[in-house]
C-alpha cells in the first residue's frame, strides 16, 4: 500500500455535537438527582429502591447511562486518535472501547430492571 497521509473521512461534526448534547443530558440528570437527594435524602435501602421503582427514574437513569457511554466513546476515540499512531492497534483499541461501553450499558440496564 502507498505510504501517504490520507484524511477526508467526512465525519466528526456528528460526534462533536453528540458529545455536547450528551454533556447537557448528563448535567440535567445530575442536577435533578442532586436536588432529589438533598430534598428527600438521606435514603435507606427501601427508599432507594422505591425511588428507582419509578418508571421515569429508570428511563432517566438509562438515558444518563447511554449519554455517558456515547460521551465516553467520543472522548476515548479522541484519545486513541491523538496518541496511537499504529492503525491496527488504534482500531483494536476502538473496538475494545465499544465492547466495554456496551457491556457497561447492558449492566446498567440489568441493575435498573432487575
Amino acid at each position: 500500500m502507498v505510504n501517504r497521509v490520507i484524511v477526508g473521512a467526512h465525519y466528526g461534526m456528528g460526534s462533536w455535537l453528540a458529545q455536547r448534547i450528551t454533556a447537557v443530558i448528563m448535567a440535567v440528570y445530575s442536577l435533578i438527582l442532586g436536588f432529589v437527594l438533598i430534598e428527600e435524602g438521606p435514603f435507606d435501602y427501601a427508599e432507594w429502591q422505591e425511588l428507582f421503582a419509578n418508571g421515569w427514574m429508570r428511563v432517566a437513569t438509562l438515558l444518563f447511562a447511554a449519554g455517558l457511554a456515547w460521551h465516553a466513546w467520543v472522548g476515548m476515540r479522541d484519545i486513541w486518535m491523538d496518541y496511537v499512531k499504529q492503525d491496527g492497534l488504534r482500531l483494536a483499541l476502538q473496538v475494545l472501547t465499544v465492547l466495554l461501553l456496551a457491556c457497561y450499558l447492558g449492566w446498567a440496564v440489568q441493575v435498573l430492571w432487575r
Binding site: V5, V7, G8, A9, H10, Y11, G12, M13, G14, S15, W16, L17, D78, M81, D82, Y83
Partner: protein
C-alpha cells in the same frame, strides 16, 4: 542578563545542548531580539531567523521561557534576568533556533488561502460593505509565525493530519469573506475527524498568539457553521 540558548548543529553536534550567554543590554536594547543580536556578536555561530524586527514578518518566533512568542516584540523590561530560548516546539530543528516550517505551510496551503470567485473580475475591485469587511477583523492580521500551531498538543501529535490553529484561523478568514464563493467546499474540506476535530479547545493558541488573535473562536465558528449546515 543571562541567555540560555538551545544549540544544535546537525553537521557537528551529536545531540542538542544549552549554551549560556552573559549579555549586558544597552539603553537602546528594548526588545529580546536586540539582546539576541548582541549574543550573536559574541558568538557568530548562533543561528536564528529575523527580518522586519517589528512583529510583522513572524520570522523570529521562538520559545521564550517556555512560552512561544516573537523575540522582536518581547520587551526586555518584562523579562526576568535569566531567559531560556528554545526553538518552536514540535517542528524539526534545522539549526539552533531555526525550525523547518514545511509541515506548517503544507497545512496552510491545504485550506486554499486565497479568495475563490468565478465571476468575471469587475473593472475595479470586488466591493464589500463595511459590515462584510468587519467580519475579517481578528482574522486577516495573522502573520503565520506558527507560535499558535507549535503550542498546540494536537498539532504536535498529528502535524500531518491536523490543520492546526493558524491554518484553521486562515480557513475561517476565507469562509467569512463575502467575496469568496466556495464556503461550502471549504467546509467539506474541513469536516474531518483529524483536519478540524483534533482541536479540543484547550486554547494554548490564544495564549501564545503574539498578535492577540483568537484561533479558538475562529475554529468554533467553523464548527458552528458545520452544525448550521447539517441541522
Amino acid at each position: 542578563m543571562k541567555l540560555s540558548v538551545y544549540r544544535f548543529d546537525p553537521d557537528k553536534d551529536e545531540r542538542p545542548y544549552m549554551k549560556d550567554y552573559e549579555v549586558t543590554p544597552e539603553a537602546s536594547d528594548r526588545m529580546l531580539l536586540d539582546v539576541l543580536v548582541r549574543a550573536k556578536v559574541q558568538d557568530d555561530s548562533l543561528s536564528f531567523r529575523r527580518s522586519c524586527r517589528e512583529g510583522v514578518c513572524g520570522s523570529d518566533a521562538m520559545n521564550i521561557n517556555g512560552k512561544n512568542g516573537l523575540a522582536c516584540i518581547t520587551r526586555v523590561a518584562d523579562l526576568p534576568q535569566h531567559v531560556t530560548l528554545r526553538p518552536l516546539p514540535g517542528l524539526p530543528v534545522i539549526r539552533d533556533l531555526i525550525v523547518d516550517m514545511t509541515q506548517f505551510f503544507k497545512q496552510y496551503h491545504s485550506i486554499r488561502p486565497y479568495v475563490i470567485n468565478n465571476d468575471p473580475p469587475p473593472e475595479r475591485e470586488r466591493l464589500q460593505s463595511p459590515q462584510e469587511r468587519e467580519e475579517l477583523d481578528g482574522l486577516y492580521e495573522c502573520i503565520l509565525c506558527a507560535c499558535c500551531s507549535t503550542s498546540c498538543p494536537s498539532f504536535w501529535w498529528n502535524p500531518d493530519k491536523f490543520v492546526g490553529p493558524a491554518g484553521l484561523l486562515q480557513a475561517y478568514r476565507f469562509i467569512a469573506d463575502s467575496r469568496d464563493q466556495v464556503s461550502s467546499e471549504r467546509l467539506d474540506n474541513l469536516e474531518d475527524p483529524y483536519r478540524l476535530f483534533r482541536c479540543h479547545t484547550i486554547m494554548n493558541c490564544v495564549d501564545a498568539c503574539p498578535k492577540n488573535l483568537n484561533p479558538t473562536r475562529a475554529i468554533n465558528k467553523i464548527k458552528e457553521l458545520l452544525v448550521k449546515r447539517a441541522v
